[in-house]
Symmetry: C2
Subunit: 271 residues, 2 copies
């Protein structure tokens, strides 16, 4: 069974898409064909969206599903005129919050993913620059790192550092274990002062070999034997040094980041 | 007025936080002190969370607010025992989707931010590597770029490229306009074959000078005069070459990405 879903918003549509994906993931047997309508902030755009939704309905015979974060009731009504099933994300919660807080909601166009605060924005950008300049473990100073990810090449350190920086403003550095570290089963001296900020990433050898093969086909670096040896040595090193670690093979970047924050008690919220 | 908010989830908590932030942004007069409880997936963890929420309630006298994406009713009830205002994100929508789709929801622990699909995951990682290796405009081949961001140094190109890669698997390259380009008011020849994939980022001169001053204090590069000249020349170049552009000064990375996708008709959905 396939159904078409539209994420409609007067802003980026990120909230509609995030909650929509979470809810739809609860319906495992259904395949969803997903589309976005961001920046629907006037009647004309709402009508254009409603028109497209209606056309699809007539064509496929299946009723489309709309996940909406529109706050203007006039625009909501125009879109609802398409005949789609409307899932209005905000409405169920606004009433109970209004009575709890004793105040009315602003009804303003959704600004949650707009830029509000230069200071917070700067924290994201600075953390991203930090991650980029602390990515290869060479000539790097770890004094200002909130945390340092340790692991073999291609275990997922760089995307995780970038994600934590972009979304949480966390300054995460990245130390790729060298052959020397792995042979000695020893942390390099310059990491030792920061032992309480280290976190290890590991991965299944087969998966690592696949990833490396894509990058450097036919190389020794990509052989299963080499991957296995590196991961075993890294595992020993992390256990001996008492570094917590996580196998990233079946885990998304979002989940890796959440688990690391949980472990270090970092309570920073998303931007 | 300040109120405490907890984002509670049996997984990363990203959905709870995203929708929670959007709803709370509607209440402008209230300051929210936000906390996360991710990975609450058994009764013991739910009880620990409920205990902390209750303790805070007793201490502050203000009723805490809980934004929850818990799917297990037993865990929900334990957390509700804290006496907090419960905003249960999924409940309002599950019923209408069940009757629309004629099927029951799985009730499985929320996996929307877990890793499901290696192929999609790889697209994110490959796009991130692409963004990293196509970041400085030097010796770069643009053939495989989905789009190319053009602008002066520090106009926001790199974080935007990384965000689009990490979240949408879009391969975005980055071309920093050189002094030569700006003097000639001319696109470099190697960008010309890709004119329909170019998008310009611009920024207010004062803001650019602030950002550059942080990076290279006291440099000519950071003077308002230099920033103004570069931005004026860049603006002329973009207008002459017919490159669409966006001023990023008051716009978040999320919004920049959404606007660019909207312009190019890129309908790719988030991972």
């Amino acid at each position: 069974m396939q159904r078409t879903v539209y994420f409609i918003s007067d802003s980026t549509g990120i909230t509609a898409e995030t909650i929509g994906n979470s809810i739809l993931a609860q319906f495992e047997g259904v395949e969803f064909d997903k589309h976005r309508f961001p920046f629907v902030d006037d009647a004309q755009k709402a009508e254009r969206a409603a028109h497209r939704i209606k056309a699809l309905h007539l064509q496929s015979g299946e009723r489309p599903i709309v996940v909406s974060t529109l706050t203007d009731p006039v625009l909501c009504e125009i879109v609802a005129g398409s005949g789609a099933l409307m899932l209005d994300v905000f409405t169920p919660f606004i009433g109970s919050l209004e009575s709890e807080l004793g105040t009315r909601h602003s009804g303003a166009v959704n600004r949650s993913h707009g830029l509000v605060n230069f200071e917070k924005y700067e924290a994201r950008i600075n953390a991203t620059n930090f991650a980029l300049s602390h990515d290869d473990g060479i000539d790097v100073d770890y004094v200002d790192a909130d945390l340092i990810l340790v692991g073999v090449s291609r275990s997922g350190k760089t995307p995780t550092c970038l994600y934590m920086a972009l979304h949480y403003g966390v300054s995460a550095a990245n130390y790729p274990l060298t052959d020397e570290d792995l042979e000695r089963i020893e942390l390099p001296p310059r990491l030792r002062p920061y032992k309480d900020r280290l976190y290890g990433l590991t991965i299944d050898p087969l998966r690592l070999a696949q990833i490396r093969e894509q990058r450097r086909p036919g190389s020794r670096y990509a052989t299963l034997k080499q991957c296995r040896w590196e991961l075993e040595q890294a595992d020993r090193l992390m256990r001996q040094a008492g570094i917590p670690s996580l196998n990233t093979t079946h885990v998304s970047i979002e989940e890796i980041a959440s688990k690391i924050f949980d472990r270090f008690g970092i309570e920073r919220t998303m931007f």
